[in-house]
Amino acid sequence: MYFLSMTITEKILARAADKAAVAPGENIWVKADILLTHDICGPGTIGIFQREFGRQAKVWDRERVVIIPDHFIFTQDEMARRNVESLRTFAREQALSYFYDPGTPNYKGVCHVALPQEGHVRPGEVIFGTDSHTCTHGALGAFATGIGNTDAAFVMGTGKLLLKAPPTLRFTLDGLKPDYIMGKDIILRIIGDIGVEGANYCAMEFRGEAVAALSIEERMTICNMAIEAGAKNGIIAPDEKSVAYVRARTQKTFTPVTSDPDCTVAKDYAYNIASFEPGVAKPHSPGAYALARELEDIKIDRAYIGSCTGGKLADFIAAAVILQGKRVSVDTFLVPATQEVADGLEKEQINGETLASIFHKAGCLDIAPPSCAACLGGPPDTFGHTHGKEVVISTTNRNFIGRMGSKATQIYLASPLTAAASALKGRITDPRVFM
């Protein structure tokens, strides 16, 4: 066997396929470490699983099928409730080890924040999820990608999936990150540059001194939006920070891998983030990039801080830094991604004041319980669902037509710093104004 140097993505896939090496374009059967599903794709996945493998069939590994209902949770919608109930039945019948049931103390919230938080994301492993933002988990050095119900049903029954190994686009981010720049600004800029299909079928690997300096939560924001450029996965090689994050959350053993120094990539991109400015994606595309300061004549009707991209504790800390001691001038919706984040809002303090108190005094709407909420619109009674021509600045990841409910809504995507600064002024605002 000759030696082949590989990227981290190729190495993880090779190991999961029991091969010494894989090259981009190769079709391989890959073993799954985790299959993630939720309340909007879980019932359909289970339907296919039972149709194809039989009503009595057992999932391939009850420890590895993780179900995290999160999308349509706090709604009176009958069918949404029925769907969660069907997950409950399935989790019970299959004796699944990890089912985070809404309405119980075990409820978590948004799957992509809950999955790493609960220790299910481990470096070097393969994660399939019935949600396109499964690519988030590459932030911890895993290969993680979104799949449809049929593929997920196949994994549920066999523990395997046929994949084509992706070529890698490598983004080297150097420079010292200014404090007004967040992971969101970095990924919006990159998507703006390469376009919404600029990484179609590819792995996006992020590395460099600026990435090493980022917190795990900020790395997750970046990998979360790899799909917005069409990528199969986003990935960041594990380092001491990510390994420490994972060790604190699981007893399971794992073997981190990293790219070989001389590996081949399809394309290299280099950025110095010291020169970055706060960015925004304009309606209706995550690739419609502009600088926040160029849009200061855009009036907004509401600000929305939440989701798997922008509803983590670090995101709320950033917003609170801007909002402390000031008053918002538009409706400001706050949706912590998970219960752990919600608890953090009560505990975490800035200048001796909790985040929850800062938001309350700033005049934000009451903090909603954790879920996807209006990130994807949801049933009409969903918190933050739009019904008219609202102009929204949002820390979420998609600004497609109708994404938050009404087709007439205009959604601007931005970092929590920019969203909070804009909430104060009632116009899109560069956060440096308040820093």
Partner: protein, 184 residues
């Protein structure tokens, strides 16, 4: 589901632009419908492309459950966004048998193949200068060609290659069984 014994798909086309995302194909509020439940499968069909902006003509006529169209012609990056399999399923349930786009978002393409719901062909050129919504067209599946009935022009499609037999078999499970990859 498709079948190689019907090598020609023919019918009216519906023409779309670039970056048609899955929220336009099936808006998120309808994701409470479960595609494997037959009545909800039909409802998904009746809601296909209901997220399009108002500039487009109605894909499904008021009061109808299915579209008058058989083929969607689209631009680049068709099906970008979410992994919801509801998207290719809704199009298929509405009566669409094939899409001819300039390019696809990866997960949509994969879902179209895995479900066997419809053929996701890629065009070699921009067809939107030739085809208008309502025009008749036919696709010769084996020869991978698209014909515009009015003008008689014939367009070569990029080969679906290894993917065509998977769709033709009816999707991933049917194909995996046929090939002996699973024996359930």
């Amino acid at each position: 589901m498709q079948n190689d014994t019907t090598p020609i798909l023919a019918g009216k086309v519906y023409v779309l632009g670039d970056d048609i995302d899955t929220d336009q194909i099936i808006p998120a509020r309808h994701l409470n419908l479960v595609p494997t439940i037959p009545a909800e499968y039909r409802q998904l069909g009746a809601l296909a492309l209901s997220g399009l902006p108002a500039e487009y003509p109605a894909f499904i006529k008021p009061g109808k459950k299915r579209a008058d169209y058989k083929i969607v012609i689209a631009g680049r990056n068709f099906g970008c966004g979410s992994s919801r399999e509801h998207a290719p399923i809704a199009l298929a349930a509405s009566g669409i048998q094939a899409i001819v786009a300039e390019s696809y978002a990866r997960i949509f393409f994969r879902n179209a193949v895995a479900t066997g719901a419809l053929f996701p062909f890629e065009a070699e050129t921009n067809l939107r200068t030739v085809f208008q919504t309502g025009d008749e067209a036919e696709i010769q599946l084996e020869r991978e060609k698209l014909r515009h009935s009015k003008s008689g022009q014939v367009f070569k499609l990029k080969s679906l290659g290894a993917v065509r037999p998977v769709v033709a078999a009816g999707g991933l499970f049917a194909y995996a069984r046929k090939m002996g990859m699973i024996n359930h």
